[in-house]
Symmetry: C2
Subunit: 347 residues, 2 copies
């Protein structure tokens, strides 16, 4: 795994240089709103002004199953996880369409699907175990399993950066995975189950009430310590959550931005930030998921989402919608003329 | 000019087909949030499901000057309009950087810059007059001048569609042009000057108070009739506003989406909608400008913006940030597999 000390604080000099450059570009000061601060943050991450253009993007979709599915927290059968992996590999899912739209690659990582998957182009077999255990009965994972999944995420991040990715995007697939996401968010932020639990991909009132009860029960059984992210992930997490936390840490160690998708991603981001607080400098909140826990987690991380359109699909779709905005913010620092160079009068 | 009857109502059959297709795609119903309804609207515009992909995008930046600049409504000298046109043509402005990011073209149209401009590649000389008159003293434009500027906009839209644009994006440049924008929004929505007037590209308290007074004075002097959009544009509008209204109508007549940028665009969109109410079906609100009048206008048009990041630059920058989201929404209808075709179980 990664040494937290390998994840550096933001570079103040690069951030100051980016702010100073913005003041000289041919636009009124502050007129790019949130994009200006985003570009300053990415300068701080890279330790350079301008920071590298965050293209091309690379999505890693970490797939896993969940023992807590047995508690009836979702109307979807567990077999859909593997079916959707096949759909990703065939290019037929929304994540594929959005990736084509912005020229991003899609890599699917089996870190914990319940059933064996056939080898295929674009699929990495990194299965740590065939789904988690039911966290209402026992810990979802052992600490060793969590650490192996974290390492999978770090290695995938390294590999994508090594092959030229300028930005990493989080993706996920796992029927029932909004339930462990809610439990992780509750554990790391101290909020109660009802506040952070949402309806996922369409549950009715009865299932929703059961889902809140399941999250509460898991937290009550394990009482996870938020200062021990491996312990929290082992108690109530998922294999894709652990791998995503490693992926985020891997991006941060390489000083490459990681665009977070929805509630699964931000719950994993809380684990990454608990492990290495400076990892937050690498995080870009792609969008605000419709799941209530997502907003709780983003606030805890101090992140403001770029896109807020009521999406609740996952897969990496919200991160992909945000990527051109991230790239545009950085491109301004590379390409826009200054008042002096363009001969434009100032006010 | 365009016959309002040439702008068709939305095609209900195509919209119903798009809704039905969404229900069969491999994603939970409604999980793409606002993108689903956007894709349905664009099916209704095109009269086809799926509608054509809205790519490539083409931005037309309509540039003009304003007699009301003499009233001290902005700290920027009027010469900046022509200087920024040169910056656009040199590729050094933010609109150019964002256009490169998303593969869109940028065409600059001089519809009313105060000074003569040198011919240049990418610049269309369609000057109707060298800036408007001061609307606190007399009508900004004659009805004939408005109609000529509207025709410029229609012709630019036609030309861009003829050469392959899949979406038109609005752009604008004109020092002081948030002042006529506020006056247009007040005239079309019936709201008062203080509600719709903002600080544009950075005015202080004293200038802001003067700007509100200027907008009020113009409305009191001319008492424009919102049912007469040519009369409203003549009274308090700008040449770029009139041209943008024509451009929007031209897009609607061709059944091609037009992505609106900020407060200048949405004030022109109110004129277009007053001329031909069905034109609203072609409009996509690219972003929510930080100018308060923009939100008033969007609400009046019934449009929800895609991007809301505090931008207040204009030029077409907000529309360009939204374009990949618009394209992604349509691409889903083209490329995503159905539950049946992908062998994915339903809940």
């Amino acid at each position: 795994m990664i040494d937290p000390a390998a994840i550096l604080p933001a570079d103040d000099d690069a951030m100051a240089a980016a702010r100073a450059l913005h003041a000289r570009l041919t636009k009124p000061a502050g007129s790019l709103g949130a994009l200006e601060e985003l570009s300053v943050r990415l300068a701080g991450l890279a330790g350079a002004c301008p920071p590298p253009l965050p293209v091309p993007g690379a999505v890693a979709v970490f797939a896993g199953d969940h023992g807590v599915h047995a508690q009836g927290v979702t109307p979807w059968p567990q077999e859909v996880t593997a079916q959707m992996v096949a759909n990703f590999l065939g290019g037929g899912a929304v994540v594929n369409a959005f990736a084509r739209q912005v020229g991003a690659s899609v890599t699917v990582v089996d870190v914990g699907v319940a059933v064996p998957l056939e080898p295929a182009d674009g699929l990495l077999d990194r299965k740590v175990r065939a789904g988690t255990r039911d966290f209402t009965v026992e810990p979802a994972l052992s600490r060793d399993e969590v650490e192996r999944a974290l390492t999978v995420g770090v290695e995938v991040a390294d590999s994508l950066v090594d092959t030229g990715a300028g930005a990493l995007l989080t993706g996920d697939m796992g029927i029932a995975n909004t339930t462990p996401s809610a439990a992780l968010i509750a554990a790391f932020t101290g909020r109660d189950a009802a506040t952070v639990t949402g309806r996922g991909t369409g549950v009715d009132d009865e299932t929703y009430a059961r889902k809140v009860g399941v999250v509460s029960a898991g937290l009550a059984l394990h009482r996870p310590d938020p200062a021990d992210p491996v312990g929290v992930l082992a108690a109530v997490g998922g294999l894709e959550h652990a791998a995503l936390a490693g992926y985020i840490l891997g991006a941060a160690a390489r000083r490459v931005p990681v665009v977070l998708d929805g509630v699964i991603a931000v719950s994993a981001a809380l684990a990454a930030a608990a492990f290495a607080p400076h990892a937050v400098h690498a995080m870009v909140a792609g969008h605000r998921s419709a799941e209530p826990g997502a907003t709780v987690a983003l606030n805890h991380l101090g992140l403001t989402p770029l896109v807020d359109l009521g999406l609740r699909l996952g897969e990496g779709t919200g991160a992909l919608l945000a990527l051109p905005i991230v790239a545009g913010a950085v491109r301004v620092l590379h390409e826009v003329a200054t008042f002096d160079s363009a001969g434009v009068s100032e006010k």
